[in-house]
Symmetry: C2
Subunit: 438 residues, 2 copies
């Protein structure tokens, strides 16, 4: 084998990182692979913009199909993101028996089943390490490193933007909107931050992980999603007083009762490793029945970290090509015939400990009214803090509960919201305080 | 392919874990591999001892060669530990073109080159995920997950026993010997704990990691090793006052000056993730030129975690067998032709910040005598603490230095030891306070 030829579609931030890694680390890659990895062609709609990478010798085009159709190219890297035309490009490449490497979590979360079925049909590989956790090799970790385990649960900080905002809010006591604005100025948040702050990006990633972990279909629609926009600095402060930090977590558990898969702000013990994952870092805690707890940690985004993950996939696929094989490891961890549909439990049926925050008028009897409603719904209070910090004529009342049923909590809070002494919508945050218990 | 047949040599703790994982997780393994992994034969010198695993249907023997010579067996798992007869068994298996999975870090650290050369010669795989970091898939992480990177440095907590002892000493203020005794009673430390507490086991592991990281030979003899037996509770307490924790670290850096590889107690900032790796947990921080910092964390030993790692290797090798290939990934990350000898820098030439602890008589002029010697050797003091806690008629004097040359430090401390005002051997601990800086 003379060389493995690579075509790249999308020369944005990550595409540029991939081009940099493939060219600047060409020598060390050759020393590990034994065959040159040649970035032959790049397609991008805007080739006029300068990029911080030397593209000498690489053929450039504005036509992605030209890359896909090049008979010399073995591996197509898709880095344009979004659903279309990314999906069309990938399917078109697979049907020409080209292997595909992608970082496109949104596409895999929604159309992964079709893509992987097509790859399997045409006998080629689809690799996607960079789709979850940026540079952290956690997909390989779950699929191969922990292959011997039944995966019991996953806890992940999988969105750097949301984590950066929550970290900043905690460190500086600033409100969400102000931190978001700062993050946008610094380039840590996009102009439209919806996917990041509403938990959608995290849920895309969790949809992929859950499929890998349990051998079930990728089913984004079944994941419960809640973002961080309702969190106020005072919630973070109260959380700290109770010994917790608030993180946007991707959580999944596989128990005898079924599978949970959810994304929401979560209070976790301040001393836990995940609580100390700050800024743009990501982390995933995986618990396997044999291995116990394993944590993967690193930069969840960025030109070079994501480039590192994409190129690790390129090497994996190249090694198959060199050895004349493909589909050596099932794309979704389980062989297609063994994957089975298991339903994801509706969140309303689950039980959690909760943090509640109400704004109420500062008048006798308020607490008794609120706790009366909670009692009616079998929600038992573990502790209450009512502090005299008056905000717009109301005081915050904060409670931690014992385990209660989500459906009951939602009903109770709806009823409490209608009480004449309560202002504003009550906020609840789920608590996970047994992350490390085996 | 009907099945991949496995032979196991050594049914101790880890061997039992492997047998448990292979039998109890047989179904989930089949769902991921698509071909049954059959544990066909087990050899152990003492088969009378009961083990917590159902061995029905598995042929048992006291003769390891019987397992190695069985023509139906594709993969030999070596879990007897030590140098001989483990080495003979492994070489004998390789020469019969059997793939080998081992957790034997001591053997690989000293005889790895011969073993990997033999494997390469006979075209078979040697896998060793369980040799470093127990259940944590960090060998795969470095070899494959971070393949696109030039590895810049490694910082690891790689020995659970030493980490458990230091954690306990810190939490409970107890002296080394007492904590060791407790650990032995609880089964967390061996009857002869030399390899663990003297840093030898950590150095075995670092020798393997360094070879993987930089493509150089495994060369245990070049690794500087210092254990934890000299650390006293008061050092841990002083460290805390300065904002540090003491961990037994495996450290390696690859800079333009050369390669560092060393194992010694190290002061690291208390808020660093590695500082918070407690008890029997292990962790490895790897910095790559593209990916930045990646941390792998999990249980570094134990029946089931180590079993998880061994079986992940079995699956990796089995997937090669199923696809009719082998040596798909170079055993030591780099293709044999590309590996090169680079010397490891002698520690005496390196520069560190240091913590010094002296026991001196409580008399005027002591500090000036000590700092006079330090000045002579160009060691500049960053801070000094002298506290009136008298121990055996002396007081501890503690200093942090700016960067100084190791050779100078050793000379200076030798000279200080001879001062009439100084009692006991001075202690120094190297400080690493820029672990996370890129």
């Amino acid at each position: 084998m003379k060389a493995v030829n690579i075509g790249l579609i999308g020369l944005g931030t990550v595409g540029t990182g991939v081009a940099k890694v493939l060219t600047e680390n060409q020598e060390v890659l050759f020393k590990k692979v034994g065959v040159p990895l040649v970035l032959k062609k790049i397609a991008d709609r805007d080739l006029s913009r300068p990029r911080p990478v030397d593209l000498t010798g690489i053929s450039l085009t504005e036509d992605a199909q030209e890359v896909i159709n090049d008979p010399d190219i073995d591996i197509i890297i898709e880095l344009i993101g979004g659903y279309e035309p990314a999906k069309t490009f990938i399917l078109s490449a697979l049907k020409q028996k080209k292997h595909v490497v992608t970082a496109n979590k949104a596409l895999l979360a929604l159309h992964g089943e079709e893509i992987f079925a097509t790859a399997s049909q045409y006998g080629v590989d689809v690799a996607f390490e960079a789709s979850v956790g940026g540079g952290i090799p956690l997909i390989k970790g779950i699929k191969e490193g922990l292959v011997a385990n039944k995966i019991l649960c996953l806890f992940g900080i999988l969105n750097g933007t949301a984590n950066y905002i929550l970290t900043k809010m905690a460190d500086e006591g600033l409100p969400f909107k102000e931190v978001l604005k700062q993050a946008q100025v610094k380039g840590f948040a996009e102009a439209d931050p919806t996917f990041d702050v509403e938990g959608i990006d995290t849920a895309h990633k969790l949809a992929i992980l859950v499929a890998l972990a349990y051998g079930i279909p990728i089913d984004f629609d079944k994941i419960y999603i809640e973002g961080i926009t309702q969190i106020q600095p005072l919630d973070i402060q109260f959380a700290q007083e109770f010994g917790y930090r608030i993180k946007l977590l991707a959580i999944s558990r596989h128990t005898s009762a079924g599978i949970e898969a959810r994304v929401h702000p979560t209070m976790i013990p301040a001393e836990h490793l995940l609580a100390n994952v700050g800024g743009a870092y990501n982390a995933l805690l995986v618990r396997g029945d044999a291995v116990g707890n394993v944590l993967f940690y690193g930069l969840g985004a960025g030109m070079m970290p994501t480039g590192s993950a994409v190129v690790s996939d390129v090497v994996d696929v190249a090694r198959n090509i060199i050895k004349g094989t493909s589909l050596r490891t099932p794309a979704l961890a389980y062989i297609p015939e063994a994957r089975e549909t298991k339903s994801i439990l509706p969140i309303d049926e689950l039980h959690f400990k909760y943090y509640f925050r109400f704004f109420a008028v500062d008048r006798p009897g308020v607490l008794s009214k609120i706790s009366g409603v909670l009692g009616k719904y079998e929600i038992s209070i573990a502790s209450v803090v009512q502090k005299g910090r008056e905000i717009n004529g109301t005081v915050p009342i904060v409670m931690l509960t014992h385990e209660a049923k989500e459906a009951n909590v939602k009903q109770a809070l709806k009823e409490i919201e209608t009480l004449d002494v309560v202002r504003d919508k009550p906020l609840f945050i789920r608590i996970e305080d047994e992350l490390m218990i085996e």
